[in-house]
């Protein structure tokens, strides 16, 4: 299939090497452990494996066959056909990291355009070539801030309304630095917590304050006094953002962010059970040398023709070795390309339109659900495309009943936030029609009022 050698060719090659048998090439491997028995099912043909995979896939109930109101960090959006058509070009997806710029200009220019689009979307000056996902990009913000202060400021303050998985990943990354101290505020059951509550935690030991915008609960909060307090004490501020929301919302750059990170999945990347996704990381120009990960810069060749190269590589692990601040090597190149194509195609007009559709439909859904007896809209502040509703019974039970009716219900906040038991985080996107929303509200009423 994928090994082209004929028996005749193999013999010629072995002769060229000067050995009789291919087994003679493995004599350095301790004999006792050579050629172990591998207990795997025998190989099958493409036709057979595809049938098996179809069986696996058929055991799932994908969002396309259901009506989905689940978000919490991964969102069901429309992916225009042109995105995957271009992504499937072998010239893109079977290329390696562009270490040889003369024969990698396609990848390099696409990343350069990605850096530009994300910088413009977030209101930042520079953006790198991507991170694994929104969670690891958030963690790298913590790592960058720690190194920015050369380890002299040891405190990182996390808003309690940052995605709980991102908080976990940040802790996993930073606990290698024994003395880093991570503080997070508390959420209030009625969502009455304010960003300014975190102000009391900020002191001259604080390296970084991390907030989410819109936050994990969908809220668009006012961060102005918190950002002011952080900057007053010399700390950096990182915003974790949803890129679709920035089609409408004021940029984190305008709001004073020093670092903007986020999950790029909503930009033309399928849900795919959680990956591969796309972490992005943007910052202000003065911190560019502190950025981890790959960066593409513009330059010229000997004839003065414009071209692109990986630049500032001296920061990276393969050059700085143990002195590098991150070991990141692979990025999410192909996913960054998907997002670049999506942002280009949808463009200035479409980015606003899709953000507006999410906002409109989420607000319609919230008002419809709030009308159901026993349900209460907990979100009081402005929200984008997710909101919190208090339900009359357990979310787990409601969601099970909804499944039978063809709906994937919202995220059960009680799983990760005990103070929010019986509260559901509902996500609405352009994929949900008015009809879907009405049916969902009717289903919620039915399952809770049997």
């Amino acid at each position: 299939m994928f090994i082209p050698h004929t028996e005749v060719e193999k013999k010629e090659m072995l002769k060229g090497i000067g050995v009789k048998d291919v087994k003679d090439l493995f004599t350095d491997v301790p004999e006792k452990f050579r050629y172990p028995k591998i207990n795997l099912p025998p190989g099958v043909t493409e036709m057979e494996v595809f049938a098996e995979l179809n069986d696996y896939a058929a055991a799932n109930e994908p969002v396309g066959e259901m009506v989905c109101f689940l978000g919490a960090g991964a969102y069901h959006h429309y992916v225009p056909a042109a995105v995957d058509a271009l992504l499937r070009r072998g010239e893109f997806y079977t290329a390696y990291t562009p270490y040889q710029p003369e024969i990698s200009q396609g990848t390099l220019q696409a990343i350069f355009e990605f850096q530009t689009l994300i910088a413009n979307l977030t209101g930042m000056d520079v953006c790198n070539a991507s991170h694994y996902d929104g969670a690891t990009a958030t963690a790298e913000a913590g790592v960058m801030a720690y190194h920015h202060f050369r380890g002299k400021r040891k405190k990182i303050i996390l808003s309690p309304a940052v995605n709980p998985q991102y908080q976990e990943v940040l802790c996993s990354y930073l606990c290698g630095f024994e003395d880093v101290d991570i503080h997070s505020g508390k959420l209030h059951g009625g969502l009455s917590d304010q960003p300014s509550d975190l102000g009391a935690l900020i002191d001259d030991q604080t390296a970084l304050v991390v907030v989410q915008y819109p936050d994990f609960l969908g809220r668009i909060q006012d961060f102005s006094s918190l950002v002011y307090a952080a900057h007053q004490s010399g700390a950096l501020v990182a915003f974790v953002v949803n890129p679709i929301a920035l089609g409408l919302l004021k940029t984190p750059g305008e709001l004073g962010a020093d670092i903007v990170v986020g999950e790029g999945q909503p930009l033309g990347i399928p849900l795919s059970f959680g990956g591969p996704y796309l972490g992005f990381f943007a910052t202000r120009k003065e911190y560019v040398r502190k950025l981890s990960g790959r960066l593409v810069g513009e330059t010229t060749d000997a004839q003065g023709r414009r071209g692109y190269v990986l630049t500032l590589t001296a920061r990276e692990q393969h050059i700085r070795r143990e002195k590098a601040t991150s070991n990141i090597c692979s990025n999410q190149g192909l996913m960054a390309l998907a997002a670049t194509i999506y942002m280009s195609l949808v463009g200035k007009h479409g980015m606003r339109q899709v953000a507006d559709l999410c906002y409109q439909k989420a607000h319609y859904a919230a008002s419809e659900i709030a009308k159901i007896p026993g349900f209460q809209l907990v979100s009081k502040e402005p929200f984008f495309h997710e909101f919190v509703v208090k339900c009359p019974s357990g979310i787990d039970e409601i969601n099970r009943d909804l499944l039978d009716m063809g709906f994937i219900g919202g995220y059960d906040l009680g799983q990760t936030h005990p103070e929010l038991t019986n509260q559901m985080l509902v996500a609405v996107t352009e994929m949900n029609s008015k009809e879907d929303i009405d049916a969902f509200a009717a289903a919620l009423q039915e399952v809770t009022h049997g």
């Binding site: 082209p4 010629e12 090659m13 452990f33 025998p42 190989g43 099958v44 995979l53 696996y56 896939a57 058929a58 960090g73 991964a74 271009l86 070009r89 010239e91 997806y93 079977t94 290329a95 040889q100 024969i103 200009q105 396609g106 990848t107 350069f112 413009n120 694994y132 998985q165 990943v169 990354y173 290698g176 668009i220 409408l248 919302l249 059970f273 959680g274 990956g275 810069g297 513009e298 330059t299 060749d301 023709r305 414009r306 692109y308 692990q317 143990e322 590098a324 991150s326 070991n327 692979s330 190149g333 192909l334 194509i341 195609l345 463009g347 200035k348 479409g350 899709v354 559709l357 319609y364």
Partner: protein, 487 residues
């Protein structure tokens, strides 16, 4: 020809994609929350398709030709993998859906965990790490957590041989360890005397790449592992070079305690121009409790007529989560497909042919290029790209000249222990004809290096663009497109 940027082809008012109009009553976002301008391009779908198609033609790729990048395992990426990952039953599942609605995904992931355990000879596997470097990070964190769980606080150092994979030192320091180098001996193995000297009770572990980045299987691997184990250290196996060992030897059997896989190398998932990768980690039984959470397990055993229920399990002493959700699922589907198509015999043939190709190609080149270690190689080998009688020419020039012959250059300047290193990994998917053609080009370049060195110094000549000014890029730091004046 220089391709304009997407901003340079933008035209005010042009639209590339329309969403449907809203079907719900209008509610306005308060003005104070709105952004002013959105500096995004305005282009049509045709503009976008042509722009990115033009860009794609400027790339070299496996689909186009031979890609002998050492330690990167640029093998052919089967097309069925792409079709598999795009089956809507997989690609349209949300990571937080109730487990009952994603049993297909979970069964596949469970199956892949089992496959990787069997292939590597370990007791447990996590699929969560996003790439090789993150797999290393997880592996070293597990080593650290293991020592801490035994209240063994004196271990502050990690050993990294000079023939190890490039990310290893940064990984160790990211986890708070001091990195200690270990030299190689004259045969390219870990130097046993130096290792014995360094090893004491402050050693947390050793990060061993085997076969190493010279392409050599360490002849003393069992002894190396034993020396580290004797002082209470653990041994980490960098799986970047696992392609050479499939069905030949299992790292778990050799005594390694933990290793990572690169699904985008060994198991044929595409590199995507720099990712996504995927870096599952395997461990022995005594380290299984430390794996990142969650892993996939059976939460309700099968009965006579009901299949098992797969779900998420949190190992009791987990080091925590290293990525959102459950791993690079689309990559996992591709790797599963590949392993399933090969089976045990097919996997062994991969390693055998990778090693056959490497030694065959070496036999064609070794009389014209200096080979620093004269041994049988595994899946790759390292030559010196320099000759005493052609003093102007360096490895970089050879690499650039190869592009004129329509080949991707080998990895150069790595490993650091070989002067002007050219690290060549042909992989099993290249035919004898392809290897012969590459060797012919390499030999011709060796001639040119002596007769017409300028041809190499100025190479490449036939690529879309010439050698680029990297100093200027770093100095001027233009990291974003020029934006047209806003209206």
């Amino acid at each position: 020809m220089v391709e304009p940027t997407i901003y340079e082809i933008s035209s005010n008012g042009r639209v590339g994609f329309r969403f449907p109009e809203s079907d719900v009553p209008r509610v306005d976002l308060p003005d104070r929350l709105k952004r002013s301008d959105l500096p995004f391009p305005e282009v049509s779908e045709v503009d976008v398709v042509r722009h990115f198609t033009h860009l794609s033609t400027l790339n070299y790729s496996i689909d186009k030709g031979f890609y002998p990048l050492g330690s990167c395992t640029m093998k052919y990426n089967p097309k069925v993998n792409e079709a598999a990952a795009r089956i809507p039953g997989f690609s349209a599942t949300h990571p937080l859906q109730p487990i009952e609605t994603v049993q297909g995904n979970l069964a596949l992931m469970y199956g892949l965990q089992e496959f990787l355990k069997e292939i590597s000879g370990f007791a447990a596997v996590t699929l969560q790490p996003s790439a090789g470097a993150q797999g290393e990070f997880v592996g070293v964190k597990i080593i650290k957590a293991y020592h801490q769980s035994r209240a063994d606080e004196k271990r502050t150092r990690i050993l990294v041989p000079d023939s190890a994979h490039g990310t290893n030192p940064a990984t160790s320091s990211m986890t708070g360890y001091e990195v200690v180098g270990v030299p190689s001996d004259a045969r390219g193995n870990v130097d046993l005397a130096s290792l014995r000297d360094i090893c004491d009770e402050t050693i947390a572990g050793l990060m061993l790449t085997n076969p190493n980045t010279l392409g050599l299987f360490d002849e003393n691997v069992l002894e190396v592992i034993e020396i580290v184990h004797q002082v209470g250290g653990l041994v980490y196996g960098d799986g970047a070079n696992l392609n050479a060992l499939l069905g030949i030897a299992r790292p778990g059997d050799l005594g390694f305690d933990v290793m990572h896989f690169n699904l985008h190398k060994t198991f044929s998932t595409p590199h995507g121009g720099g990712g996504p990768g995927s870096g599952p980690v395997a461990v022995t039984q005594k380290l299984a409790d430390f794996l990142p959470a969650p892993i996939i397990g059976i939460v309700e055993e099968a009965t006579e007529d009901v299949p098992p229920l797969y779900g998420f399990i949190t190992p009791p002493k987990t080091i925590g989560r290293v990525k959102a959700f459950h791993g690079q699922f689309g990559v996992l589907v591709r790797a599963y497909t590949y392993i399933r198509m090969h089976g045990p015999d097919g996997l062994r043939k991969i390693a055998e042919h990778a090693v056959l190709n490497s030694n065959y190609l070496l036999s064609l080149l070794r009389h014209r290029y200096t080979l620093p270690y004269d041994r049988t190689y595994m899946h790759e080998f390292v030559l010196e790209g320099v000759w005493a009688d052609a003093p102007d020419v360096q490895a970089l020039d050879i690499a650039k000249r190869l592009m004129d012959y329509n080949f991707h250059p080998p990895t150069n300047y790595f490993p650091l222990i070989v002067r002007e290193a050219l690290m060549i990994e042909p992989t099993e998917t290249e035919s004898k004809q392809e290897l012969d053609a590459f060797a012919t080009a390499m030999l011709k370049i060796a001639d040119e290096a002596h007769s017409t060195p300028a041809l190499l110094k100025e190479a490449p000549h036939n690529t879309p663009i010439g050698r680029l000014d990297e100093v200027k890029a770093a100095k001027e730091l233009v990291l974003c497109c020029w934006l047209p004046e806003q209206e």
